[in-house]
Symmetry: C2
Subunit: 266 residues, 2 copies
């Protein structure tokens, strides 16, 4: 993967510093434009292989872009100074599959058997959408992207199973066709949408009540478009019930020093 050029590297560095110092605690969508962001799942090593297999079987929802060494909270392949104990705006802590805590730092929870998984994030194609004049509504309304637990089952692996979490961005049909083309270029950032139109068809009953993130307005003539989301593993963690797991809070991602465009195949 390609490291950012200096001015953007400065931005990602400063953003991570702001997150580390808790000066920034909100969503990361639309920030450090051009830099790749990642979903995070941290599991004990004895659960790692099973989760790896789950990602392999569900490459659209869970596109792996990085895995740490056991016990290492650095991710040198994704950014030189990344410290996974501090560098997310918000962490979720799961015990036995139950979310027990949300916190700004996990330094005192770190263990030397933990493995960090980094999954591609749809924020990586939001920049490409914006450049095409298709700025996602969550960015123009300055809120967290809308996320919903759909009824689209993932492929189980070991103890991991569950439905796919999806993000939603509204577009007119003409815009949606262009958005499908653009996001198709980013298979490692969830790629093309899974569904458009009637939310009920994929088990979503109220767009105004996302399961994660914020609702956005859907205007007349617009259709909701649904992409797979890297929060999907959190549903699988709820089901697999590993004794210990840490994830990012939805929409509050790891900001890397790598180029968004590295996830584009064309």
């Amino acid at each position: 993967m390609t490291q950012l050029a200096t001015p953007l590297l400065q931005q990602t560095y400063e953003l991570r510093q702001a997150i580390r110092s808790r000066a920034h605690t909100g969503p990361t969508s639309g920030l450090a434009t051009g830099a790749m962001q990642g979903n995070i799942v941290i599991l004990p090593a004895e659960w790692a292989n099973e989760f790896l297999l789950y990602c392999q079987k569900n490459p659209i929802a869970c596109p792996l872009i990085g895995v740490s060494e056991v016990g290492d909270f650095h991710l040198p392949d994704l950014g030189k100074d990344i410290d996974m104990r501090h560098d997310l705006p918000e962490y979720y802590v799961y015990r036995d599959g139950v979310k027990v805590e949300s916190r700004a730092d996990i330094a005192d929870l770190w263990r030397d058997d933990l493995v960090v998984f980094v999954l591609g994030c749809s924020f990586s194609f939001e920049n490409a959408l914006s450049q095409a004049g298709l700025t996602p509504r969550n960015i123009s309304e300055d809120v967290n992207v809308s996320m919903y637990e759909s009824n689209i089952a993932t492929v189980p692996a070991g103890r991991f199973f569950g439905n796919t979490v999806v993000t939603m961005r509204p577009y007119t049909p003409k815009e949606a066709i262009r958005a499908i083309q653009i996001t198709t270029r980013f298979p490692k950032a969830h790629g093309a949408p899974l569904h458009f139109g009637t939310p009920q068809d994929i088990g979503i009953h109220d767009l105004d009540k996302p399961d994660f993130g914020d609702a956005v307005s859907v205007k007349d003539g617009e259709v909701p478009i649904f992409w797979a989301c890297g929060v999907t593993p959190q549903v699988a963690v709820r089901n697999a019930k590993p004794p210990f797991c840490i994830t990012h809070a939805p929409g509050k991602m790891l900001v890397t020093d790598m180029l968004d465009m590295d996830l584009a195949v064309l």
Copy 2:
């Protein structure tokens, strides 16, 4: 462009012979799979430059893939033995923009000032759709594709102007996303759809009453998907009112000896 391999060349030759002898008079969709088909517009030379410009300004609806020499009814670049006086299952004859006749042969109407324009046709991507398990409904129901005059204006050029004619193929949203990806690969065969969903949004009020071709069934959970169509120039001819013009009858195309896949960019 690439010429077909011998077995398929044999098929296109035989199909054109069957058309020439009037043994085949129907639509050409789904026939000689793998061979490129074309929309036809034949105009007097003095109207040719204006029409050329119209095609240039409307590359999605009017993707030019061949132009004859003035007065030449052969198209050596598209097939060695093509004779435009006989090789369409059905011709429309327009005088002063009015369709005055439909006929199986135009030998006795041929003039040495005529220019033949060949435009890419959505049938070229139907094979790719079928191979992806997305057989178009017009093929599975063995009817002519459904065509509608939309309210999507083309860009005028000289005296040529008018709305875009679109073909419609129904798919579920999931299938439609795949179909958008596949047809995006064929920019010279109308490429990605222009619209999906509510037909009224593009001025179509009754899917059961296509302006050209046949209606197809739209099943529960399916959405109509609309692609630009090479019948669009016939609307422009109606408006421009050239004293003389010959076109193919919608759905009854020129079968060439060239490869469909030559229109694919990826």
